[in-house]
């Protein structure tokens, strides 16, 4: 029976956009607080709700992912959970020791060496000198800084500082752990170390993880809260649903069209599972379904041996797949007027995530190839899949096991 370690009920927080006004409100709020008055729930001039009416619980052994656009209120919520600022409405209950992977390396003085700074950061995190003496070798080994541990921190790269900070913070054994986007910095080795550490802690800890890396969220989290402009859009234990909703919020549909006057792109259609989608739609496709792509083009003049090339890009704009066999099937010497290219992928093998396709129309005349148009990020679509991971392609072949003897 897991116990509830974090309980948030109806919490709201307001901030002021204007600095001078904010300081004046601060002065007023200090006075009100000292005489014991409750903060007003009306928005004063230039104030806005950074967080409005959030409620959730996290039990020991659960990992809650907080996702949302920049400025949605995630870090503000973490600050309130950490006791740094007070909610304007509602209440928060935190049971047990609270640790935070938030400002790694807090307390460092850059003129001192890494070794000396271990004590500084450790003290801020609540370790006694005696405790740090006992863990010193472990921390130095974990950080993998080697001889550089005795170099002044001002000479460290930001990755090295984060490694040292994490090595110290990893010694914490809290009941609640708050993690705020520290995983964005750091190399692959560091990130994997972070995950192993979090796995180790997860059984006995309630974790809250703020991240923009959806593979990280899907790997670690048991629950997800999607925030948008301070409000909770969805609070679910179906992590892939939450992540899909996150992707849907980003309407980066601006594609880049470069073409010649000879041809005009009329429409692109994606057809899957009996649904016809156009580029303005929120296109959602299921893993394993078939995906048919139709491209309608108007040729204002003759086009010789036309073919289409399609490239698939992941959300980090890396291309990872392509279709280049059009000319094996389409053999027209010359065409004009309205033409429709059509192709079908029978089994969409993509991991969950958001993808885009880039389309190029080529013609070939007298053995010279010419690009007639190139439409970068022509269509965006999201793939729904229970499987999430680092790689865009996910195969699901059959397996057998032969036990011999």
């Amino acid at each position: 029976m897991s116990d509830v370690l974090i309980k948030v009920e109806g919490v709201s927080k307001k901030f002021c956009k204007n600095l001078k006004q904010s300081l004046a409100y601060g002065f007023r709020d200090i006075y009100d607080s000292v005489i014991g008055k409750k903060p007003s729930l009306k928005l004063r001039k230039d104030e806005f709700w950074a967080i409005k009416d959030i409620s959730f619980e996290v039990k020991r052994g659960e990992c809650l992912g907080l996702i949302g656009h920049n400025g949605a209120g995630k870090s503000t919520l973490l600050k309130m959970l950490n006791g740094l600022i007070r909610p304007d409405e509602g209440s928060i209950e935190m049971r047990g020791k609270v640790g935070a992977l938030i400002e790694l390396g807090a307390g460092f003085n850059s003129l001192l060496t890494g070794r000396e700074n271990i004590y500084n950061n450790g003290a801020v995190l609540g370790f006694s000198k005696h405790e740090i003496d006992g863990k010193l070798n472990e921390i130095i080994a974990f950080s993998e800084l080697g001889e550089f541990i005795d170099m002044p921190v001002q000479n460290y790269s930001s990755g090295m500082k984060v490694r040292l900070g994490f090595a110290i913070a990893a010694q914490m054994e809290p009941d609640i752990l708050l993690i705020d986007e520290v995983l964005a910095v750091g190399d692959m080795g560091f990130v994997l170390k972070c995950f192993n550490q979090m796995d180790r802690l997860l059984q006995n800890t309630a974790l809250i993880l703020v991240s923009h890396g959806m593979p990280q969220i899907s790997r670690m989290c048991t629950h997800v809260i999607l925030m948008d402009h301070g409000k909770v859009l969805c609070n679910t234990d179906d992590v892939s649903y939450g992540i899909t909703e996150y992707y849907k919020r980003f309407k980066t549909q601006i594609g880049d069209y470069n073409g010649s006057d000879k041809v005009e792109l009329i429409v692109i259609r994606l057809i899957s599972n009996d649904s016809i989608f156009h580029k303005e739609d929120d296109i959602l496709i299921n893993y394993g379904d078939s995906l048919k792509i139709e491209i309608e083009i108007l040729c204002k003049d003759f086009v010789y041996s036309p073919s289409i090339q399609i490239a698939f890009f992941d959300k980090e704009q890396r291309s990872f797949a392509a279709i280049s066999n059009c000319s094996d099937y389409v053999k027209f010497d010359k065409v004009t007027g309205k033409i429709v290219f059509s192709t079908q992928i029978d089994n969409v093998p993509f991991t969950q995530g958001k993808y885009s396709i880039t389309i190029m129309l080529l013609e070939e005349k007298d053995n010279i190839r010419n690009t007639l148009f190139r439409y970068q990020s022509a269509v965006y679509f999201t793939v729904n899949n229970k499987i999430h991971g680092w790689t865009p392609i996910q195969f699901s072949p059959e397996w057998t096991l032969n036990v011999e003897n």
């Binding site: 008055k37 928060i92 003085n109």
Partner: protein, 279 residues
């Protein structure tokens, strides 16, 4: 298991707040000494003159007044001890008072970034301010004693009696500094005004001139918290009479009360300050 409860209601009782403040001091004592040691080490690493910088301001002020007096440009009458020694003592003790007032704001400002990201006992910062000022006191004492000896006031048993007075003065100065913090951390006007006001306040204290027996200069005698402490300490070192014990006790009691008030106000207002000005 420790349970922390945060809400919009400020319904903590007075004794609950005091208990949390005490806990903050106890839990934060290692952090306090660590912060002090950290900054001390760092200040020596990148400095050639190192801790000599501590002595330059009081020596400069004392030097100017000794020079003016020796040139008879200014005539300060009837000092109860030899003028050079009188002035040196005064400026060094006053410099400790001035430092004590500025210390809490400076220390809190230096940890503002950390306070907006991590939770640690905020009372540790006040303890660190005390450590800073006591370190400064020890250094200045080490310099003051040989100088007084050279000027004809060898250290004796009576010097020891000066120490409680100075420690009391440090406590008074930190209490005052703490009271300035809530507003001083929101608006930087206070932090800017202090370096200008403090020299001015020095001239309102019996630092470079003595208290005349017959004048009733009210600010000097009754409204200035530093006066009884400076006079008490200096009177032991210089071997003259001191008769402001009632003012001494009065200011000590006032400081104790204002220290507690300052701690409570800081405890309540720090989250608001962090929210409005932190990173």
């Amino acid at each position: 298991m420790e349970i922390r409860h945060y809400s919009s209601n400020n319904n903590k009782t007075f004794s609950q707040i005091l208990y949390e403040i005490m806990k903050g001091f106890i839990e934060g004592r290692e952090l306090a000494s660590r912060l002090f040691i950290r900054d001390l080490k760092a200040s020596f690493r990148k400095s050639f003159l190192g801790f000599f910088w501590m002595f330059i301001p009081p020596f400069a002020t004392a030097g100017i007044w000794i020079f003016l007096s020796s040139q008879k440009a200014v005539s300060i009458q009837k000092t109860p001890m030899e003028y050079n020694a009188f002035v040196f003592c005064g400026t060094i003790i006053w410099s400790l008072f001035a430092e004590g007032i500025s210390k809490p704001i400076q220390r809190y400002q230096s940890v503002m970034g950390m306070m907006s990201k991590l939770n640690f006992p905020r009372e540790a910062v006040i303890l660190t301010s005390f450590y800073d000022i006591i370190y400064s006191f020890i250094l200045k004492l080490l310099v003051l004693i040989p100088i007084l000896w050279f000027l004809g006031y060898p250290p004796g048993f009576n010097f020891l009696f000066a120490i409680p007075a100075i420690l009391g003065m440090l406590f008074v100065s930190i209490s005052l500094g703490l009271l300035l913090c809530p507003i001083g951390l929101l608006y930087n006007d206070i932090g800017r005004a202090l370096p200008m006001l403090l020299p001015f306040l020095m001239y309102l204290s019996p630092v470079i001139y003595p208290i005349q027996e017959n004048t009733e200069f009210p600010v000097l005698k009754y409204l200035n918290p530093a006066t009884p402490f400076i006079e008490n300490a200096r009177s032991f070192m210089g071997g003259y009479d001191f008769n402001m014990y009632s003012e001494l006790v009065f200011w000590l009691i006032i400081s104790l009360i204002s220290f507690i008030i300052g701690l409570i106000v800081m405890k309540i207002s720090l989250p608001i300050i962090v929210e409005r000005s932190g990173g």
